[in-house]
Amino acid sequence: MSTRFEHDDDGVVVIIGSGAGGGTLAHALARKGIKSVVLEAGKRYALEDIENDEWAMFEKISWLDERITAGPRQLTETFPNLPAWIVKGVGGSTIHWAGVALRFQPHEFRLHSEVGDIDGANLLDWPISYEELEPYYVQAERHMGVTGEASGMPLHDWNNNFMVLAEGARRVGYEKLRAGPMAINTRPYDDRPQCMQAGFCMQGCRFGAKWSTMYTDIPRAEATGYCEVRPNAMALTIEHDERGRVNAVVYADAEGNLQRQRARAVCVAGNSIESPRLLLNSHSALFPDGLANSSGQVGRNYMTHATACVFAEMPKPVNMHRGTTFAGIISDEARLDRSRGFVGGYTLEVMSLGLPFFAKFMDPANGGWGRDYAAILEKYDHLSGVWICGEDLPMEQNGITLHDSRKDQYGLPVPIVYKGDHPNDGALRRHGQQQARSCYEAVGAVRVFDVPDFPTSHNVGTNRMSARAEDGVVNQWGQAHDIDNLFVSDGSQFTSSGAENPTLTIVALALRQAVHIAERMSRGEL
């Protein structure tokens, strides 16, 4: 913990963000003896700071700097300044992620080849295949402690919430029903205890049973002596030399003073809003449109998954709040099957919310009140819920831009987060809602109702990978096409969204990137 690097030490890799991408990368580099400085905008929290309290944790750890929600979607109206639900803190959004750890399917890396051009979508194949990533998936699963084959941990027992959904699913003919894989220990693993089924995964795991870089990768990277994590350090711009190679990061420290950290290489992992924002804000005479942006794709192709929730009131108490938050997954609809009227698939993931969040999110629009509303809440303990996680097609106009005049507390332009649906997203979502409804009806629900989308939890795609420099921002290693010592190390690299939650893939990519960086360093290229 005590390692300190000098501001003018140009031998360090500077990593921006300490979440799934940045935290994993820092640790992997440290284990290879590569020095890094992690700049993290948020504070450092201890396990004792984690409370089983939805609003208290929301207030404590969320990224609440000003953002503007835009685009033809309900969130623009219901959460005009909170387009996304992201953590600002050491550990990033792995503090409050729910632990669902699915691999992408092989065909999802080549969706464009599979389905051809689609009007209005900016489809592209990933420059890597499933086969290339597979060994890193295995490594990531061991690393994070994902239940199943790689870690050897059994899947979780089905909780009540999943029993209800799964029984309905079975009755409508679904077969791929599993309580996982999840990066949540079912027995002690990785020096962390087993899950106590406390039911507050999305507020942070008080026990450390769920993987988070907050209490795994970050302290372990620090313990090697090769990594210094600087909390309360907000990266403002990345600087480069006259040849266009990056060489420093300017950041604001806890007191608001500007600091400049010299760098051998820079890895951006601030999640899919801040990462492109930082590249855009780092424009210079040499790169007037922002760093790594010769393709014009920085900030574009923002994907959030096509999502929706369906909740049902059951005849008896379910107590969905007990046990893991995302306790089970149905994968039958994850396949590619155009006969359903859309490309891409979706997973159905059982979910729960506590009463405080459910009362707010059941219908955050102006009309979310009244006798019917209150009547549903009175049946809170009878509810079961499911979340649809579906392929969201990339569209060029969906993305992050900078506001002309509004500035944040650092004087940087506020990001505008624009997102609209492709017709395919709408078709997929309706199909998912209908199937979820059928499941609940098949298990005897008293009533079934749709719940709108929350501020986005899965943000990907805004610095996408591409084989050719003109189609995207980074290559298959996450290295910027334009600048050979600048990397993107988070979910913004995604070329497509898949039907799976993103974090396992982010971690696998970060582990793979670490190998690449180490190899290039040993060849003297970095």
């Binding site: 409370e51 089983n52 309290d53 939805e54 609003w55 208290a56 207030e59 609440l64 109206e77 219901t78 959460f79 005009p80 300044n81 909170l82 027992d157 089905w158 909780n159 009540n160 029993m163 209800v164 029984e167 899950c195 106590m196 089924q197 406390a198 039911g199 507050f200 008080r206 026990f207 059951m314 005849p315 008896k316 108490p317 379910v318 107590n319 709040h321 007990r322 046990g323 506590g354 009463l355 405080p356 009362a359 707010k360 955050p364 102006n366 009309g367 979310g368 009140w369 009244g370 006798r371 509303y373 209150a374 809440l377 009175e378 809170y380 303990d381 009878h382 298990v443 005897g444």
Partner: protein, 169 residues
């Protein structure tokens, strides 16, 4: 756009509310005394209470649980609240010949509120209440079956996370 203003407010409110509320509900203790701001202006507080109870109607929940989060609005945004309540009474008199609180039918009162639901006044009250009422841990288990913080008790291992018997089919 009224809706945008309302929801901007809502976010600011729910960010500040958790803290404010915790203090407020503690101060109330077990007594049925009204909060200070409600006592200072009982007439306004009574009308605001009727409105709050119509927004999230739960028969069995005592008035003070509605007043605790709402009363601070009488201090912080008195003009908005007073004007909004007056406007609501005007609408009630036009439609039913009596003040809002005197309209007997809950359905008719709800219909009146639907007319103003996009306005800043209504959304301020609603957004305050949706957190202030449902984030009150005293109400969770008795009224909703929500058990709140569980880590202190070792979570739900062996305490009913997987004990459901689907016997209703």
């Amino acid at each position: 756009m009224p809706s945008a203003t309302g929801t901007t407010l809502s976010r600011r409110r729910f960010l500040t509310l958790t803290g404010a509320l915790a203090a407020g509900s503690l101060a109330l203790s077990a007594s049925t005394l009204w909060p200070r701001w409600a006592r200072a202006e009982p007439e306004l507080a009574t009308r605001l209470l009727r409105l709050g109870r119509d927004i999230y109607p739960h028969e069995a929940i005592a008035d003070r649980y509605y007043l605790a989060p709402l009363a601070p609005l009488l201090e912080e945004q008195r003009e908005l609240i007073a004007a909004g309540l007056d406007d609501l009474d005007r609408r009630a008199r036009a439609a039913h010949g009596r003040d809002y609180a005197a309209v007997d039918s809950a359905a008719e009162r709800e219909a009146l509120l639907r007319q103003i639901e996009d306005g800043e006044f209504f959304q301020t009250v609603r957004n305050t209440l949706v957190v202030g009422l449902y984030d009150n841990s005293e109400l969770w288990e008795p009224h909703f079956g929500y058990q709140g913080s569980s880590w202190e008790q070792g979570g739900y291992v062996g305490r009913g996370y997987n004990d459901l018997v689907i016997d209703w089919l």
